[in-house]
Every structure is written in structure tokens, then in C-alpha cells.
């Protein structure tokens, strides 16, 4: 039995890893929702990001190509989503669901086609590895978690600070708030609502695509059918749970990551699976999220115009 501090350290380390794609995708979804667009298709974008990163890395032999591919496909799908919802003004939730459907089919198809491709069967595909920061590693409890993550995780952390600054202290933040709370006022102020919303959606697609790549060419080293397994929907829940604020999102995601880590540790303890069904542990995080959402007070702090097409006409 590992000691408590070892177990905690391990859980934190695990939490930081599993939180990374969620937080990254969360940045994009947060910005999009604050600008008034709810993207239910984030799951599909992450999935496509994962498969495209994997495919590009396998076919070209370069993990960096995988990152680029994931970013590109994220932007592409986001552009499609923006065209349909912001410009043609179709319903956002249904469009997002259609994108999920499309992505499920496309990713599985691509994966099957890839398996038969000659390049794929030659040995391993290139992946990114974790990096280690020597000094930080020594710090008790959190050191291991802080010092041994993927490069992308550190980028995500710094990006979070940058994003927070932009949203809180610059005009960009004001514009995004206006887009979501009072698009008519934004329009009167000379802000081109649809173009800005499109930009926010593209940002969301970029984040989600990269988040997907984290799964396939970093953390999980490979692609499996349906590998996102609901993470995109979790991000949706976490954005709302964090009350559409960046610190709230990060905190909520970390908590979720810790819970997930606890769940995995419990499940791996000897005798766990003989007495408890393994899926019970898997269910805990989702059930906990649902209960947490239910316990939040009812005030709808969300952007007033989220989900509504503009101009309303």
C-alpha cells in the first residue's frame, strides 16, 4: 500500500494531466459562451483533433505535424459551425449535435482507413513525452505534479494567465461581454457582432482540436474509437459550473481531476474490483458533476443571449 502522501502526490500528478485537455478546451468554450455561442459539438471537435493528430503524426513521422493537423481541423470544423449557426442562424445546440454525429463517423472511418495504410504499420507513431523540471521536483506533495508534465500543460497554464488578463483588463473582455449580454448594444457601438462571434468560435475550435491532440499524441499514446469518451460534454458542464469565469473553470476542472484520480486509485486498490463493479468508479465523476450542478444556486449567471442567433429579427 503506498503511503498517503505518495498516493496524494500521484493523484495530483494525475489530476494535472487529465485536467489539461479539459482546461484547454474549456478556455475556448468559455470565450465562445461568453460571446453568446454554445458549442455542444466540442466533443466532436476534440475527437477529430485526436484522430487527425494521430494520423498526421503517423503518416509524417513528426509529432509536431500532429499538433498542426489538430489545430487545423479544429479551426475547420469551427468555421463550419460558425457558418451554420452565426451566419445562417440555425439552432446552435442541434448543429453541435450534428457535428458530434459527423465527427463520430468520420473519426472511426479515418481510423479504420489508417490501420490499413502502409505507413501506419511500421512501428510506433511519434508522440510527445513528458518533460521534467529538476528543481521543482523536490517540492513535497505538489512538486511531482508540477515538475513532470507535458510541455503543452505548461503552455496551457501560462495561456490561462494571459487569457485572464485579456478578459479582465483589456477591451477584448468588454467586447466579449457585450457580444453575449447585449449584442444590439455592441452593434450600435460599431462592433461587428457576427465577425467577432466567428472569431470566438474559431478560438474555441482551436482549443478543442489541440485538446484532442493531447489525448492521442501525448497522454494516451494512440487512438481508440470514441477516445474522448464524453470529455467534451464534461467541459460544457465545467464552464457552467465555474459560472462562466476563468478561475471558476480552472478550479472546477482541477477538482474534477482530483476526483478522477481518486476514483482511479480506489479502483486500482486490491480487492476493489472484486467487491465493487469497476464502472461504479467510472461513474463517480459524472454523477458528482451532476450533483454539483444541482446544488448550485439557481441564479442564471450566464450570458443573457447565449444560444440565440443574432440579429434576432
Amino acid at each position: 500500500m503506498p503511503s498517503f502522501s505518495d498516493a496524494s502526490s500521484l493523484i495530483l500528478w494525475q489530476a494535472a494531466t487529465s485536467a489539461t485537455p479539459l482546461v484547454l478546451a474549456g478556455y475556448g468554450e468559455l470565450v465562445a459562451q461568453r460571446a453568446g455561442v454554445i458549442n455542444v459539438g466540442i466533443e466532436g471537435v476534440m475527437l477529430m483533433g485526436a484522430i487527425c493528430a494521430f494520423a498526421a503524426a503517423t503518416l509524417t513521422g513528426s509529432a509536431a505535424a500532429g499538433l498542426l493537423a489538430a489545430a487545423a481541423v479544429g479551426l475547420l470544423i469551427a468555421a463550419l459551425f460558425a457558418a451554420v449557426t452565426t451566419w445562417c442562424r440555425a439552432d446552435q445546440v442541434v448543429t453541435g449535435t450534428a457535428i458530434n454525429l459527423l465527427a463520430a463517423g468520420a473519426s472511426a472511418t479515418l481510423y479504420t482507413m489508417l490501420r490499413d495504410h502502409p505507413a501506419a504499420t511500421n512501428g510506433e507513431a511519434p508522440f510527445f513525452d513528458r518533460i521534467t523540471i529538476p528543481l521543482v521536483d523536490g517540492i513535497p506533495l505538489i512538486g511531482h505534479a508540477l515538475a513532470n508534465q507535458y510541455a503543452l500543460s505548461y503552455v496551457v497554464a501560462f495561456a490561462g494567465l494571459l487569457l485572464w488578463y485579456l478578459l479582465r483588463r483589456t477591451r477584448l473582455g468588454l467586447v466579449i461581454t457585450a457580444l453575449g449580454d447585449a449584442p444590439d448594444a455592441a452593434d450600435a457601438a460599431g462592433i461587428r457582432v457576427r465577425w467577432w462571434r466567428t472569431a470566438c468560435v474559431l478560438f474555441a475550435g482551436l482549443c478543442a482540436g489541440l485538446a484532442g491532440s493531447f489525448l492521442s499524441i501525448m497522454a494516451l499514446h494512440g487512438f481508440t474509437i470514441n477516445m474522448t469518451d464524453g470529455r467534451g460534454f464534461l467541459v460544457l458542464a465545467l464552464v457552467i459550473f465555474g459560472r462562466w469565469s476563468l478561475p471558476g473553470l480552472v478550479l472546477g476542472t482541477l477538482l474534477f481531476g482530483i476526483l478522477d484520480g481518486v476514483q482511479t486509485t480506489l479502483a486500482s486498490m486490491p480487492g476493489a474490483t472484486t467487491h465493487f463493479p469497476p464502472s461504479l468508479f467510472a461513474m463517480l465523476p459524472y454523477a458528482a458533476t451532476l450533483i454539483a450542478l444541482a446544488m448550485l444556486t439557481r441564479s442564471s449567471a450566464g450570458p443573457v443571449h447565449m444560444g440565440r442567433p443574432w440579429p434576432a429579427e
Binding site: 454554445i38 455542444v40 463550419l80 451554420v84 445562417c88 442562424r89 440555425a90 439552432d91 445546440v93 442541434v94 448543429t95 449535435t97 450534428a98 457535428i99 458530434n100 454525429l101 459527423l102 465527427a103 463520430a104 463517423g105 468520420a106 472511426a108 472511418t109 479504420t112 482507413m113 490499413d116 464524453g230 460534454f233 460544457l236 458542464a237 457552467i240 472484486t274 467487491h275 465493487f276 463493479p277 469497476p278 464502472s279 461504479l280 467510472a282 461513474m283 459524472y286 454523477a287 458533476t289 451532476l290 450542478l293 444541482a294 446544488m295 448550485l296 439557481r298 441564479s299 442564471s300 429579427e313
Partner: protein, 351 residues
């Protein structure tokens, strides 16, 4: 009449666009698209056997399509049909294998279906009540409940603790359902003996849905609630109760779909996700939220899936999931087209 023609045109154009796009994609990947298209169509409707299989696949989709359709028409975004159908199947499986395995068919099947309907409705009720009393958006709770439903099924089926698990195999699945619980097939004289009577259940459900929707005060109230809940309330319609009713109906239909899938096709409950819930949303949109349209749309999707299997086992080996791509494209085309129509219509009238 003009409305009907416009909607029909929208559907046909969307399907045509999707087919064209997929063919272009296939050509780009080096496949002979025209041959694949022939195989696809052939697999769907070439012989009566094929048609029967298409109908068989379409059957649960009709029900999940009706489930999504009734919800959307009333302004409730129920994306939880996936979970509700799983819970319905679970309830039917539990009833069939654990509760009353030795009932005669005439009693067993209706009871199992009833159990599924009630279970699906209850699962939907969770989301409805969370929305009503805790303000959790239905969009979010139904999605999370979909995952929880799958995990519930897994818990019931994973060894060694799963109560419904078949003790004789290592695979997480239930026992084979007793023969009495298998849906009877159509008589061989029809030439469609691979099709089970569940198709009549689905058609009956569609008929009932249509009657309620267009000819009853209840249906009128549902429609009004969906279009303008404030005005509905001030007209004396109990809005919250109606929205809850809609979720229950929707969940019940989805649960029924899961049970039909189990009793008619698979006969064993497993842990793979059939995907009929999400596909039902696409069916509802393609069917323009009208029960008759939904039946036809489900049939079309059934043909899509059937044909895709045919292509998969052919020498081209294209994975079955390409059918999902087609469905996704169709839905997107419909969304764009419908938005264009409604905007164009509005502009025309204001002048």
C-alpha cells in the same frame, strides 16, 4: 400545401447534397464511388429480405425519432434519448432475465415493453425535475445522464458483481433472453420474415403521436407551450406540468426504442452503445418534426445503415461509420436550408 412542398424540397435537396459530397470524398480517397453507391443502394432495397432488414434497423430509430420530435416541438431540448433507451433496455432485460423469466409470450412482451417505457420516462424525469427545481439546463443534464446510464448498464453487467451478468461467459453481457421474450417475426408468406412485429408498435406509436399532436387539446397545449411559454401560462396552460409530460413521453418512447432493439434484434444486453438516441435526433430533424416524416426519415436511415453494412463486407471494406458521416451532412444541410427558408419567409411577409 406550399409548406409541404417546401419542406419536401428541403429534405430532398439535403439528401442529394450529402450523397454528392460523400461521393466526392470517396473519389478523393481513391474509391470507385459509383460502384460503392450501387452496393449501398442494393444492400438497402434490392430484395425483400434487404427491405425487411432496413425496416428492422429503422424500427428503433422511428421511436427515438418520435421521442426527439415530440420534445423539440414543445421547446424541450431532450438529447438524452441515448441514455433513456439504454435504461429502457436495461429494465426490459432485468424483467426478462431476472424478474419473470418464465412468463408466456403474450404477457411477457407487453410487460417488458411497459417496464422499458416506465424506466425511460423515469430517467427523463430526473433531468426534467433537475431543471424545474434546481435550474440545471436540460441540455446538460441529459448529456451527463447518457453517460451515467451507460455506466449503470455496465455495472449491471460486469463481473463478478453484475447482477444481470451471464455467469457462463467472461464477456460483460446479460443472459440470452428467454424465447418468450423474443419479438415474433412476420410470417414467411410476406417474404419479410426477418422483420419482427415491433414495426407495428412503432407505426402505432407514430399514429398515436400524430393524433395527440394535431387533434387533442393536450397536443394543442404542448405546441403552444413550445412556441411561447409565457403566453401559454397566461392562457391558463400549466406550462411546467406540460413540459414535464413531454419529457416523460419522450423518455418513454426512447425507453421503448431500447426495448424493441433488445427484444427484436439483439436478444442479449451488452455494453456497446447502439447510438439510436443521437441518431433519433437526426431522424427527427430530417422528418421535420412530423410523425409521418419521422417514420419516413427513420426508414431512410435504416436503409443507409443497411447499405453501409453491405459495403463494409464487400471488397471495398469501407467502415460502417461512413453512414454516420452521411447522416451528419444531411442534418447540417437541413439546418442551413431550414434557417434560410424561415428567414426568407419572414422577409417576404413583412413588406
Amino acid at each position: 400545401m406550399k409548406q409541404l412542398l417546401t419542406q419536401l424540397a428541403l429534405v430532398l435537396v439535403s439528401i442529394a447534397a450529402a450523397i454528392v459530397l460523400i461521393m466526392l470524398g470517396l473519389y478523393a480517397c481513391g474509391y470507385p464511388a459509383h460502384r460503392i453507391l450501387t452496393l449501398w443502394a442494393g444492400g438497402a432495397i434490392a430484395t425483400r429480405f434487404d427491405i425487411a432488414v432496413s425496416l428492422k434497423i429503422a424500427c428503433p430509430l422511428m421511436l427515438t425519432g418520435l421521442a426527439a420530435g415530440i420534445a423539440f416541438r414543445c421547446g424541450v431540448i431532450n438529447i438524452g434519448a441515448e441514455g433513456q433507451s439504454l435504461i429502457g433496455a436495461l429494465a426490459a432485460a432485468a424483467f426478462a432475465t431476472a424478474v419473470a423469466p418464465s412468463l408466456p409470450s403474450s404477457v411477457a412482451i407487453p410487460l417488458a415493453l411497459l417496464a422499458a417505457i416506465l424506466a425511460g420516462a423515469a430517467w427523463a424525469a430526473i433531468a426534467a425535475l433537475l431543471d424545474r427545481y434546481r435550474g440545471v439546463p436540460v441540455v446538460l443534464s441529459t448529456i451527463l445522464l447518457n453517460f451515467i446510464a451507460l455506466q449503470c448498464v455496465k455495472i449491471m453487467l460486469e463481473g463478478p458483481t453484475g447482477p444481470l451478468k451471464d455467469p457462463l461467459t467472461g464477456v460483460p453481457q446479460s443472459r440470452l433472453l428467454p424465447a418468450a421474450y423474443h419479438l415474433p417475426l412476420l410470417p414467411p408468406a410476406t417474404g419479410m420474415s426477418s422483420l419482427h412485429i415491433g414495426i407495428f408498435v412503432a407505426l402505432a406509436a407514430a399514429l398515436i403521436a400524430w393524433l395527440i399532436q394535431s387533434r387533442t387539446t393536450f397536443g394543442f397545449e404542448l405546441r403552444v407551450t413550445g412556441l411561447n411559454p409565457t403566453a401559454a401560462r397566461l392562457a391558463g396552460i400549466p406550462v411546467a406540468a406540460r413540459q414535464l409530460s413531454v419529457m416523460l413521453l419522450s423518455g418513454g418512447l426512447a425507453g421503448l426504442a431500447g426495448a424493441i432493439q433488445l427484444l427484436g434484434i439483439t436478444h442479449i444486453l451488452g455494453i456497446s452503445q447502439p447510438g439510436i438516441g443521437y441518431a433519433g435526433i437526426a431522424v427527427a430533424l430530417l422528418g421535420r418534426l412530423h410523425p409521418a416524416g419521422i417514420i419516413l426519415a427513420a426508414l431512410f436511415f435504416g436503409m443507409l445503415d443497411n447499405g453501409a453494412t453491405n459495403v463494409e463486407i464487400s471488397r471495398y471494406g469501407l467502415p460502417h461509420d461512413t453512414a454516420d458521416i452521411v447522416k451528419g451532412i444531411i442534418v447540417l444541410c437541413i439546418l442551413v436550408g431550414a434557417a434560410y427558408i424561415s428567414r426568407h419567409g419572414i422577409i417576404a411577409k413583412e413588406r
